[in-house]
């Protein structure tokens, strides 16, 4: 049983790794680089909170 479980672990690892690689390729070829890297630190704080001292 443990040996079978070991093979199942290899199988699951390979399938999920391939799925992530496929999704990565799909996303990178679908969206522009500017959109994917458009996140900015502190954006929400700057927009949504005003500090009054």
């Amino acid at each position: 049983m443990w040996i079978s479980l070991s093979y199942a672990c290899w199988g699951i690892s390979i399938v999920l790794a391939l799925w992530m690689l496929y999704d990565w390729f799909k996303v990178d070829t679908t969206y522009a680089e500017d959109v994917l890297t458009s996140s900015r630190e502190g954006e929400l704080e700057a927009v949504s909170e005003k500090h009054r001292i």
Partner: protein, 465 residues
């Protein structure tokens, strides 16, 4: 006196991390990363200084981490950005410190993830007792499945962490109450196993040496700050989740020491890889034995899961500020996760897990962690000096300043000495590594950074500028 006016946040075409987490997720992230330390790691402090030394460092290192949690809660409730201590260092100390802190974070969490995966693989192999069965397949599955979970979204990742961390924690509580802790002699034999003659077999220098592994009781609780950009209310959720996590861990550490030191002689306790699982076996109950076996696996999984989350956010933040190529700062448009950072760190973790041994991985993780805590003690002093109370809005203000910072700094110095006693060459090698990488950043990489863009908090100018 400050007030906050909430208005709708406008994103335009930007793809950002998703704000979906609450205090329970912050708790699950922090305690999830740490709890594995109760299942293995802390007990090696008994080998360094005896059972009583393991208890003394449980309390003193608990003080260190309570200081960490309080300081971190205050700064993070103000600098609410992915990258946690990296973003804090960038705004309060400067870019070079921030770069180093981010590397401390990535190393600490990636090496801890590697240690967790090795532990999980070894635990399954030990349980199976089958000739020819190796831990490699279980290590690969742990790292890849958890990376996939992190890739698919932070909410599900931390929901899973909450459930498995809670189960692992409850198993410690069940073990504690199953051994009649209020009665010595029935199951527990603390007065026979810890006597004045063997309580501190190496004297007080043994207690100092025990600090190195006493860190494992709480290592990683500061990881809660990495969720800052994904919690709905950072100013409220982060202090709540972090402080609740610290209280939870102090209770778990005390229960763990009491049960294990009352069931095993310090000579065995200090060398076993599975103190709680062994405690379950020693009760003679198959139910408790199996429960603690499963809990050991779940704790390792929860820790690795949280580590992948945190290491990826720190790496992502470096890319976003161009401290590393901005390619790493991509956010998945559907799952809203730093998917390239997750994928980049995946093979690195796998490589270390297959080639490194558990002790080396643990030591690198601890070293990077203690470097980070030393920075935090200096950071809070500078933060309070540059932006005194009342000048900016704080979600939480920690009491007794500067006492926690001083305590934290002193305990970090003691821990460095303890690490030097056990792993002096690794300590020197890591110091040289961080020195060389700092030179690379200063003389080469920093010219790519957009200097005006990296400081993002809407704060007034610091005092003295």
């Amino acid at each position: 006196m400050t007030t906050t006016v909430l208005e709708p946040a406008i994103h335009g075409d930007r793809v950002s991390l998703l704000r979906v987490l609450g205090p329970a997720h912050v708790w699950a992230l922090g305690v999830g990363i740490v709890l594995v330390g109760e299942f293995t790691g802390w007990n090696f402090s008994a080998d360094k200084g005896g059972a009583l030394a393991a208890l003394i460092v449980c309390w003193i290192v608990g003080l260190l981490y309570t200081s960490v949690a309080m300081i971190d809660s205050e700064v993070t409730s103000t600098v609410a950005a992915a990258g946690g201590q990296y973003a804090q260092a960038k705004h309060i100390v400067g870019p070079l410190m921030a770069f180093n802190v981010a590397l401390f974070l990535v190393f600490a969490y990636t090496m801890l993830e590697v240690s967790d995966a090795i532990l999980l693989g070894d635990t399954i192999v030990a349980k199976a007792g089958v000739e020819g069965l190796t831990h490699n397949s279980f290590i690969a599955a742990t790292i890849v499945v958890l990376a996939w979970l992190n890739y698919r979204g932070v909410l599900m990742t931390l929901n899973v962490n909450f459930v498995i961390t809670a189960i692992a924690y409850i198993s410690i509580v069940i073990l504690f109450f199953s051994v009649s802790p209020w009665t010595q002699g029935a199951v527990l034999k603390l007065n026979e196993l810890v006597t004045p003659g063997n309580a501190l077999p190496y004297g007080w220098i043994g207690v100092i040496a025990a600090f190195q592994f006493g860190i494992w009781y709480y290592l990683g609780i500061e990881g809660t700050t990495q969720a800052a950009e994904e919690v709905r209310s950072p100013a409220r959720s982060l202090p709540y989740g972090t402080m609740a996590g610290m209280i939870t861990l102090l209770i778990a550490a005390a229960m763990t020491w009491y049960v294990c030191a009352s069931l095993m002689p310090w000579e065995y306790l200090g060398i076993t890889y599975y103190p709680l699982w062994d405690a379950g076996k020693l009760t003679g109950s198959p139910l408790l034995e199996n429960l603690l076996f499963i809990a050991t696996l779940l704790a390792a999984l929860a820790s690795a899961n949280g580590c992948i989350n945190d290491a990826a956010r720190a790496w992502f933040s470096l890319g976003r500020d161009r401290y590393l190529p901005s390619w790493f700062s991509a956010v998945h448009p559907k799952y809203r996760t730093p998917y390239r950072s997750i994928l980049f760190l995946l093979p690195i973790a796998l490589a270390f897990a297959f080639i490194a041994d558990l002790n080396q991985a643990i030591t690198f993780s601890i070293l990077s962690g203690v470097l980070q805590y030393t920075f935090m003690s200096i950071n809070i002093m500078m933060f309070r000096k540059k932006w005194p109370l009342g000048t900016i809005r704080r979600g939480y203000t920690h009491p007794f300043h500067p006492l926690p910072a001083i305590v934290l700094f002193c305990l970090c110095v003691v821990t460095f000495f303890a690490i030097f006693l056990g792993f002096g060459s690794q300590l020197i090698a890591m110091t040289i590594f961080y020195f060389l990488i700092s030179l690379w950043f200063h003389f080469y990489r920093y010219k790519f950074v957009r200097r005006g863009d990296q400081f993002t908090m809407p704060w007034p100018k610091p005092q003295g500028y």
